[in-house]
């Protein structure tokens, strides 16, 4: 894991060239795309638009960071979209039907996220269900539970309840501030996004917990023999993922201003894509926080830029797919460090 990134001195020119491309190719593509849009689209380079893009992608990026945590311990979490959608409905329910203030709703949602993460961890770590299957199953359970709680309805202020009365509460200003507020010119979601990225970077790269998480992902057996409490770290990673997914949901809920039952549906694939792109950025070949953030920014740049040049939305999916494919080629095919994936686990040797 800690082997040098630079090729050995005996490497041929071609090998060094390939290593350079692996290390910088992805950032190069991002910078090239940004440069292209900056030159061709005057509206792209406005401060408004830069913050707009970051704000737009913040929930996806945060959910992607959650998936990254699961990948770090050699797993995957397919329930992040469902968890985020659950968060949207629960926040709405707490405020509109429960008539509570935003802070309470936020507390309930974060607790819910930890519980979902805990459930995933229990199924994977204790019940030993493969991660892909366990989180797929929980995502159905979470969506179903959400629909049961809200009677299948989108919760909005002034909605009429089953007994004919009108819902007492509404989305409070302090909650809506999570998405609609800003500190100076910087929107709140962007601040949350950057803080979480920096925090995860610090934990993963600068603390022994981070090294332990990577060790568990690289080789659980070796980690166990080295005295790392493997089960505990895997549990922490899944709970962290649940927590991050619920934070993504909080932002989505504040953006929609309604307990939209379909919220979060489209989040999962983007979040997983972002985390996978993150693995390849900088040729690191392992999940990392800045890479995931950069992957999210790349998606935001593409979606916004392609819209501005007038490419229809369905062509953007194709573009996203190509970028993900190239990222995977960098990770698995061209990289001198071999990135190994076994049934949903990604490690690099």
């Amino acid at each position: 894991m800690t082997s040098a990134t630079l090729p050995p001195k005996t490497a041929s020119f071609a090998e060094r060239g390939a290593a350079f491309v692996v290390r910088w190719g992805f950032i190069g593509v991002t910078v090239a795309l940004i440069a292209f849009f900056v030159i061709t689209e005057p509206n792209f380079r406005t401060v408004d638009n830069v913050f707009g893009m970051l704000k737009f992608i913040a929930p996806t990026a945060i959910a992607g960071l959650g998936v990254m945590l699961a990948i770090t311990v050699g797993g995957i979490d397919l329930s992040v979209g469902a968890s985020a959608g659950f968060a949207v409905s629960i926040a709405a329910w707490t405020m509109v039907i429960g008539n509570q203030v935003g802070a309470v709703a936020i507390g309930v949602v974060l607790l819910g996220g930890l519980l979902i993460g805990g459930l995933n961890a229990f199924l994977i770590v204790v019940a030993r269900i493969p991660d892909l299957l366990a989180t797929l199953a929980t995502s159905f359970v979470i969506v179903g539970l959400k629909l049961l709680i809200v009677d299948g309805k989108s919760i909005s202020s002034q909605m009429s309840l089953a007994d004919g009365s009108t819902a007492p509460g509404k989305f409070t200003a302090d909650y809506l501030w999570l998405d609609r507020g800003s500190l100076g010119p910087v929107p709140v979601p962007v601040i949350i996004f950057v803080v979480i990225t920096a925090l995860l970077w610090f934990i993963l790269e600068r603390t022994r917990w981070g090294r332990a998480l990577y060790a568990v992902g690289a080789n659980a057996e070796a980690a166990r023999l080295a005295g790392i409490r493997v089960q505990l770290y895997r549990t922490i990673a899944y709970m962290g993922c649940g927590l991050l997914a619920s934070i993504a949901g909080l932002l989505l809920g504040a953006r929609i201003g309604q307990g939209d039952v379909s919220a979060g549906n489209s989040l999962l694939l983007d979040a997983v894509a972002v985390a996978l792109v993150g693995v390849s950025v900088l040729g690191i070949g392992r999940p990392n926080a800045w890479g995931t953030a950069l992957g999210a920014i790349l998606i935001a740049v593409m979606v916004t830029g392609f819209t501005m040049v007038g490419l229809p939305y369905y062509a953007q999916d194709f573009g996203k797919g190509i970028v993900l494919l190239i990222a995977l080629l960098f990770s698995f095919t061209f990289s001198r460090r071999r990135t190994v994936v076994t049934a949903g686990s990604t490690t690099s040797s």
Partner: protein, 362 residues
């Protein structure tokens, strides 16, 4: 490892990305290409349409389904003939995405914005922001709590629903067992629900089931819901499904329960595919309410154009609907919207929100 052999692959990958961008560059306008010659204007375009193309952002909640596809192509066609450069975003029913789309549309400072459907709570603050930034806004089928400075347009849902429900009462009479398949939270469906509730009360209809949902594949997703409801209540006489994607699902569910001769289905909206379903042998779908979606999409763009030219008299524009029965379609052997428009000329809205420089073109 012979890495050198992999270099060509890398080059290929890079070329793909470049080709993609090059393709983007040459594709400056999103107006869908149309082979038809545009209707000719009998007067020159006034300002601001007489210079560079007017940049308009169309922010859609969804562009999927026959109705929305036709709506979009009508809007694109009208935009083209009015020298409007239309940039379309489609949130695919993801309301958070639509909020971002609108936010980014505002940031790109277009000459005007059209918002097609959406959630009130989600979009109201952003629409207020656009108005504050002096960007003209036209909304279609979106209920606003504060419509100051906004041009609101809609199909007259009141006329659509009551026309079809009059037919329903004529067919099955007061007090009949009926079913209702719809969803809440969509402005148009909510307005139709108001009319429905009034008819239920006035005619003492016995509502034996209420179900339905709107999703990315609405027609398919409603089949199992209605199927279950029909298994429970096979004696239902009529079903009101006031949105054609839902109606199609209802028709399928009725057919697969072999209730086609016993249950009548009443829908709203029309498209080529809908006409095919309505006129199919033994189809239970007996009446629908129609506007021509492409004519409506075009009329929304015309409302915007008149507004920008300072020629729009009212800030709330409603497009009238016609009730179309199954027998009208079969008697006139109508099999698509074009021939329906010929037999029912009032559908093309060519007398609504037009000017001599702005003929209807959908």
């Amino acid at each position: 490892m012979a890495i050198s052999r992999r270099i060509p692959l890398l080059v290929l990958a890079a070329t793909t990305v470049l080709a993609l961008s090059a393709c983007a560059q040459s594709n400056g306008t999103t107006s869908e290409a149309s082979t038809d010659a545009p209707a000719t204007a009998s007067a020159a375009l006034p300002a601001p349409f007489d210079g560079d193309p007017v940049k308009v952002a169309l922010v859609r909640q969804s562009g999927a389904g026959d109705y929305f596809e036709a709506w979009g192509s009508g809007a694109a066609k009208q935009a083209k003939s009015a020298n409007i450069d239309l940039t379309v975003t489609d949130a695919r029913n993801d309301n958070a995405k639509q909020a971002s789309d609108l936010e980014q549309a505002i940031a790109s400072k277009p000459d005007a914005i059209i918002v097609d459907h959406g959630n009130t709570d989600t979009l109201q603050p952003l629409i207020t922001k656009a108005v504050e930034e002096k960007i003209p806004v036209v909304v279609y089928d979106l209920a606003l709590t504060d419509a100051t400075g906004v041009v609101t347009t809609s199909q007259s849902d009141e006329s659509m629903a009551s026309g079809v429900l009059d037919q329903l009462i004529d067919d099955v009479g007061d007090g009949a067992k009926v079913g209702y398949v719809s969803a809440t939270g969509y402005a148009a469906l909510d307005r139709r629900a108001v009319v429905w509730n009034k008819y239920v009360a006035d005619h003492k209809l016995d509502v034996v089931f209420s179900t339905g949902k709107v999703s990315e594949s609405t027609a398919t997703d409603n089949i199992p819901l209605v199927d279950a409801a029909l298994k429970q209540n096979p004696d239902v006489k009529a079903i009101f499904a006031p949105y054609d994607e839902i109606t199609k699902g209802v028709v399928q569910a009725v057919n697969q329960n072999n209730l086609g001769s016993k249950v009548k289905v009443y829908g709203i909206d029309i498209s080529n595919a809908d006409i095919e379903v309505i006129t199919a042998d033994g189809s239970p779908w007996v009446a629908t309410s129609a506007t021509d979606p492409s004519a409506v999409g075009a009329a929304v763009v015309r409302s915007l154009a008149l507004k920008l030219a300072g020629q729009l008299d009212e800030d709330d524009v409603q497009f009238p609907a016609k009730t179309i029965t199954q027998s009208f379609l079969t008697d006139n052997s109508i099999d698509n919207v074009t021939s329906l428009r010929e037999k029912e000329p009032s559908l093309d809205l060519s007398d609504q929100v037009t000017a001599d420089w702005l003929p209807a073109n959908s």
